[in-house]
């Protein structure tokens, strides 16, 4: 289903989704080339959650994200080149190379702090929401985390505070564990979470909670915009779970690209290895969205092709920029511990 938005807006959503995908695929290549070390996580397969969801927020709202943050930052308008520079540990990174993939944040966009501790952001999100409420600023806080975060006690503890104090916070739980086969390839909820459906947990704390197909941009947009409205009306915290099927490229601990994405895969999967064909046919949220755009006569294939071309260029330039950016001066390691 397409979000109920103008043509321009829909094209913009499409552009952002493609930007995330091409960014991440490039990132995997760079990692394979040994351009950065450390564990990292990609957002591929969840683009139709992050992009429409974040489009429902206002420019002053706060956001918190996790180890799987790249897609969220890009969806909100972060510059690919500075994001990439950060992930490569370079001076021009948003965090001056100190954060890296786990911790990229852009405070100017409302991302104050990105925690790679599972559920680490859930208490914090209550705090920015508390502050906004105290200041009557009208800002809301979007707290973006995975299904695994509900297994940490930080989640229910924070739900309690948010519910009691009617804090203006949106909990967006991206459940990428649907059909997952164990922790390493996405937590299979049924084996790690007894509170199932997951919405039972926030509901116990009287937080309205809804489930939605995370590969359906229209459904995500509808659910999130409704939740955001309720929060702005002062109804307190809201919880939305979006369900996606884990991208097969993320099945091992280190991502691999089974096939480089191009929008034409939406109609022609001949280039896709058989083992992963089903995912690209049934579950790839970008291909679904592209088909909907074209079949709904919002845009032509040619138009999408142009969008994708520009995205490709942007990513190429970003990579050039990031690779050219120097490593930070060694002494900077000792600076910036305290304000």
């Amino acid at each position: 289903m397409l979000p109920k938005l103008s043509r321009e807006k829909l094209i913009d959503l499409c552009r952002r989704m493609l930007l995330i995908r091409h960014f991440e695929e490039k990132l995997i290549l760079l990692h394979n080339e040994g351009r950065f070390s450390g564990h990292y996580h990609v957002y591929i397969g969840q683009e139709a959650t992050g992009v429409p969801a974040l489009s429902c927020l206002g420019p002053d709202d706060y956001l918190f994200t996790t180890h799987r943050n790249h897609g969220h930052l890009l969806a909100r308008g972060a510059e690919p080149k500075r994001l990439l520079a950060e992930i490569l540990g370079r001076r021009d990174g948003y965090n001056k190379g100190k954060g890296g993939t786990f911790h990229t944040n852009v405070s100017a966009l409302g991302f104050l702090h990105t925690s790679a501790v599972v559920a680490g952001i859930i208490p914090l999100a209550g705090g920015t929401a508390y502050a906004a409420k105290a200041k009557k600023s009208g800002q809301i806080t979007a707290c973006l985390f995975g299904d695994g975060a509900l297994e940490e006690g930080a989640a229910p503890e924070s739900f309690n505070l948010a519910s009691l104090w009617k804090l203006p916070v949106l909990y967006l739980c991206e459940n990428n564990g649907k059909y997952g086969r164990g922790r390493a390839i996405g937590a299979a909820q049924s084996s790690t979470m007894a509170a199932y459906p997951l919405t039972d947990l926030p509901a116990a704390y009287k937080i309205p909670a809804e489930q939605v197909d995370g590969t359906d941009a229209g459904a995500v947009h509808a659910a999130i915009s409704e939740a955001v409205e309720k929060i702005r009306r002062g109804e307190g915290p809201q919880f939305v779970e979006t369900q996606t099927v884990r991208w097969p490229g993320s099945e091992s601990n280190w991502p691999v690209v089974p096939v480089p994405t191009e929008f034409s895969l939406a109609w022609d999967l001949s280039a896709v290895p058989d083992a992963v064909k089903e995912w690209y046919r049934e579950c790839d949220p970008i291909l679904i969205f592209v088909r909907e755009l074209v079949e709904g006569k919002v845009v032509t294939k040619e138009e999408i092709g142009k969008v994708e071309e520009k995205v490709r260029e942007e990513i190429a330039q970003a990579a050039e920029f990031a690779l050219a950016s120097p490593y930070p001066e060694l002494e900077t390691a000792l600076e910036g511990v305290f304000a």
Partner: protein
Amino acid sequence: MREIAYYEAKLEALREILAADERVHLITDTLTGFLGLSPHRARFREIAERYPERVISPPISELAFCGLGIGAAMAGLRPVVDVVTASFIFEAWPQVVNEAANAFYMSGGQTRAPVVFHVLHGLRGGGAAQHSHSPQAMLWNCPGLEIALPSSPRDVKGLLKTAVRTDNPTVFVDHGSLFEVRGPVPEGDEAIPFGVADIKRKGKDVTVIATSYMVQRSLSVADRLAQEGIDVEVVDPRTLVPLDFTTLIASVEKTRRVVIVDECRQSCGVAAELAARIAEAGFDKLKAPIRRVTTLDVPVPFSRPLEDFISPSEGRITEAIRTVLR
């Protein structure tokens, strides 16, 4: 200058801070606010009642409410979070040591988290193993947190004001046994800067570096030893992070004999760090090995005689001073 009790100075600081800066919010059990089980705790109620929107009582959820304080600080408030018994900061450990401490650094300077965590540390008489911790050594091992330990009415007021004003997360490590101590406190706003040690007693024979309640204990030992002609200098760092090592080492170079008194357990405690630094910097100045007087390395026993036995008591402080003078 007027003399008031420590707990009064502390309440006065809270009152003035709330009046001066509407960004300050207190997260605390409003029935015991910042005074724990002290008989004076009801005095806090008047403050809580004057600011019902800025003094809030949380559920028993240290992890969530400390994290909430950090997040609120990131968004521009100046939350002071009362964890009450210091042992309970362990419940919030991941938020304190792995979120608050890292936020400014790992964001590359984008995000400040000027939250204050308030704890009451140490042996308290029957607190037993689970309620008697002094977490400041563990916290000092975790860069990114400022750590203040007041030891006098003047310091508690002045340091609390600074804690709320600095742009960094601060752990304010207080001690219930200080509450009845009386001393001079200037009227009006006199913040004490962090990173400035205070010579609580001048002396020339031996330097006693003491923190928190141990400053008071060391002072009474010093008074007693003065009658024997032993002239003890008592130096109080007041903040561990930042640390005023200059004042400490200047005293050491003068007396050349050092005792460190601190209520953390010995191994990897605050006294260990101070001893290691002084032993290195003062290597050819010291006339005797540095002695540490700390809580002994055992869980805290409940029974009072046992608790007193493992504590850095006046007896053990006195003995350590005599040893380094030998």
